[in-house]
């Protein structure tokens, strides 16, 4: 087995983002930061996908993270970006820990449908909650870093830099996790769960851990997206948001922890250009791309479920 080069790659990307980020135009900084936020969510989905689980409700944690970050500013006047990400991670992590006891038992479409139901519950609650702005959501205070408020020209770069550091540290941690016995159980659970149990490992425990990690990543991503966009609304929990994350995850494949970020950036680029070129057909191109990847690149980008279906 060759040495894992992923940490090196992550280091190079981090240096490139920190050094090169300052020279990007404002819109590109925005795009990269959003890609990092979405990439974090997709990274979590990738973990689940390795175990053969597709969550149609990851927007639950994305939205929870965003609202936790927003609540921090709205009710406590805190706008520190690291505090926001921490709040997002904590809110999502606690929720996932509790819900995980239930979800860790589910597989296949039932995992997808239950996670969908849970995210729609949050959507239903937020839409009717006037303290949190109902369908309109609310605006987020401009971000600060350690009590310093960057000038208007620098705030995008500051957010980008903070996002890059946190996201790549998390990616590094996930990469470590993938090489632990617990992390390596995931593909085994996908292949044959009963054998996993016969080996003495608990598939349920492994899935629960995975689920919490995925939620924490989504929570951080949500907080990051909230502070970058400056506005949050209940649509962040709607099922179409989950669909976008699934799209990114499948586009990227499960090859490396860097892949989801690349996938998210690619998604952002496709989204922006396709939307500019023809606003009424960008979903069509996304759908066609998704279809082609699933059908023609099952090994590279989609290595899930290579076996035939048993009935």
């Amino acid at each position: 087995m060759t040495r894992d080069r992923t940490p090196l790659l992550i280091g190079v990307i981090l240096v490139a983002l920190l050094a090169g980020g300052a020279f990007l135009p404002q819109w590109a900084m925005f795009m990269v930061t959003i890609a990092i936020a979405r990439g974090l969510v997709a990274l979590g989905l990738m973990l689940l996908l390795r175990a053969g689980l597709v969550s149609f409700g990851q927007a639950l944690y994305y939205c929870l993270g965003a609202y936790a970050a927003g609540a921090l500013g709205r009710f406590f006047g805190i706008s520190d970006i690291f505090a926001q990400m921490l709040a997002g991670a904590a809110a999502a992590g606690v929720a996932a820990f509790i819900l995980g006891f239930l979800l860790a038992k589910y597989r296949g479409i039932f995992f997808g449908l239950l996670s969908l139901a849970l995210s729609m519950i949050l959507y239903g609650l937020l839409v009717k909650n006037e303290a949190l702005g109902s369908t309109d959501g609310f605006n987020i205070l401009p971000s600060t870093l350690f009590g310093i408020r960057p000038g208007p020209d620098w705030v995008r770069y500051a957010v980008l830099a903070a996002a890059a550091v946190v996201a790549l540290l998390l990616a590094l941690a996930v990469n470590r996790y993938l090489n632990t016995p617990l992390g390596r159980l995931a593909p085994a659970i996908k292949d044959n769960e009963i054998r996993v149990e016969y080996m003495g490992a608990s598939a349920r425990h492994a899935v629960h851990v995975m689920y919490v990690i995925a939620a924490v990543l989504a929570g951080v991503g949500g907080a990051l997206a909230a502070t970058t966009v400056g506005h949050i609304d209940p649509d962040m929990a709607f099922w179409t948001t989950s669909g976008e994350f699934i799209f990114i995850t499948i586009l990227a494949g499960t090859g490396s922890v860097v892949a989801p970020f690349a996938g998210a950036l690619l998604y952002g680029v496709i989204h922006t250009t396709a939307y500019d070129l023809s606003p009424n057909t960008w979903q069509l191109s996304l759908g066609a791309a998704l279809l082609l990847i699933i059908v023609f690149l099952p090994e590279g980008l989609w290595s899930l479920f290579p076996q035939r279906r048993w009935r």
């Binding site: 053969g52 597709v54 239930l102 589910y106 296949g108 479409i109 039932f110 997808g112 449908l113 239950l114 969908l116 139901a117 849970l118 729609m120 519950i121 959507y123 239903g124 609650l125 839409v127 009717k128 909650n129 044959n192 009963i194 099922w239 179409t240 669909g243 699934i246 499948i250 009424n280 057909t281 960008w282 979903q283 069509l284 996304l286 759908g287 066609a288 998704l290 279809l291 699933i294 059908v295 989609w302 899930l304 479920f305 035939r308 279906r309 048993w310 009935r311």
Partner: protein, 298 residues
């Protein structure tokens, strides 16, 4: 008391509408084991076809009473064009894949169809209020309801009872039950399983399109119709049990009554309760209220 009565009437109307919208989803899952996200697209296709064709019919001054038949015809037309195309050109090559993968494929097709609809019909809303207003209204406990709602109830009854009759009392239905039970043995016994899949997919999609077409007069037909209905249909069929016909009826009644109760007594929890019930059912009876035990797969 009066309020309870109107809760009941609203509940029946909403349940009937939900049942028609969700019935095809459970049929397709029951026969083909496909969680079909394109179901929402067919609902939207039916609504657009119904609104535009019926709109043209009325604009030409043809008899408005026949517009109900035109709604039916437009749903048939659009489904017979699109559904066999999707099944033959794409889905039939995917049956060997895992359920989750097929779910993603139908999601991709859903995205494509969303934009196809925008390309064909544009993004401006369509209104056809005439069929809705034409029949007048009836009143229950002092509240007036458009008589058109009775058509929705009748549609649900015809669709549900008709499907039950086909499944249990006709040769085709009994062969279909065999296909559901074991597609491979059925094939070996000489049943044309591929044709059954094609017909099932088309018929299931037709039910969605019908629901869409007959909803069109009651709403403004705008992009995003399919996005809303598909999660609601999932909730209905999951509560009753994926693939179960009485289950879909039970799910529709539960969701319909629960929503009607919350609209009248606690409007702020309207959306929340529907998905809360769905999550609770999944938590305690993952295969739905009407479900049979399934052997553990190895």
């Amino acid at each position: 008391m009066n309020q309870l009565l109107s809760v009941g009437v609203d509940g029946v109307i909403y349940s009937a509408w939900l049942f028609t919208a969700a019935l095809g989803l459970t049929l397709i899952y029951g026969v083909m084991k496909i969680v079909n996200v394109t179901h929402g697209s067919f609902y939207a296709l039916g609504a657009y076809a119904g609104a535009s064709i019926t709109g043209a019919w009325l604009a030409r001054g043809y008899p408005p009473m026949l517009s109900y038949a035109v709604l039916l015809g437009s749903a048939l037309l659009v489904t017979l064009v699109v559904a066999p195309l999707i099944e033959r050109a794409i889905l039939r090559f995917m049956y060997a894949k895992d359920e989750v993968v097929i779910l993603l494929i139908t999601y991709a097709l859903f995205l494509i169809l969303e934009d196809v609809i925008k390309l064909v019909w544009g993004v401006n809303p369509y209104f056809i209020a005439e069929p809705y207003a034409l029949l007048g209204s009836f009143s229950v406990a002092g509240l007036a309801y458009p008589t058109y709602n009775l058509i929705l109830v009748a549609l649900a009854l015809v669709a549900g009872l008709g499907l039950a009759w086909i499944l249990h009392s006709t040769r085709v239905g009994k062969l279909l039950l065999a296909v559901i039970h074991d597609p491979e043995i059925s094939r070996a016994m000489g049943i044309n399983v591929d044709r059954y899949y094609l017909v099932t997919f088309t018929f299931g999609s037709l039910l969605a399109a019908l629901a869409g077409a007959y909803t069109a007069p009651t709403v403004s037909v705008v992009p995003g119709l399919g996005v809303e209905i598909i999660v609601l249909s999932f909730a209905v069929v999951v509560i009753g049990g994926l693939g179960s016909l009485p289950g879909a009826a039970l799910g529709a009644v539960i969701v319909g009554v629960v929503r009607s109760l919350s609209v009248h007594y606690m409007p702020q929890v309207e959306l929340f309760v529907i998905y809360f019930v769905m999550a609770m059912v999944l938590a305690f009876r993952p295969r739905g209220l009407f479900s049979l035990a399934e052997p553990r797969r190895i």
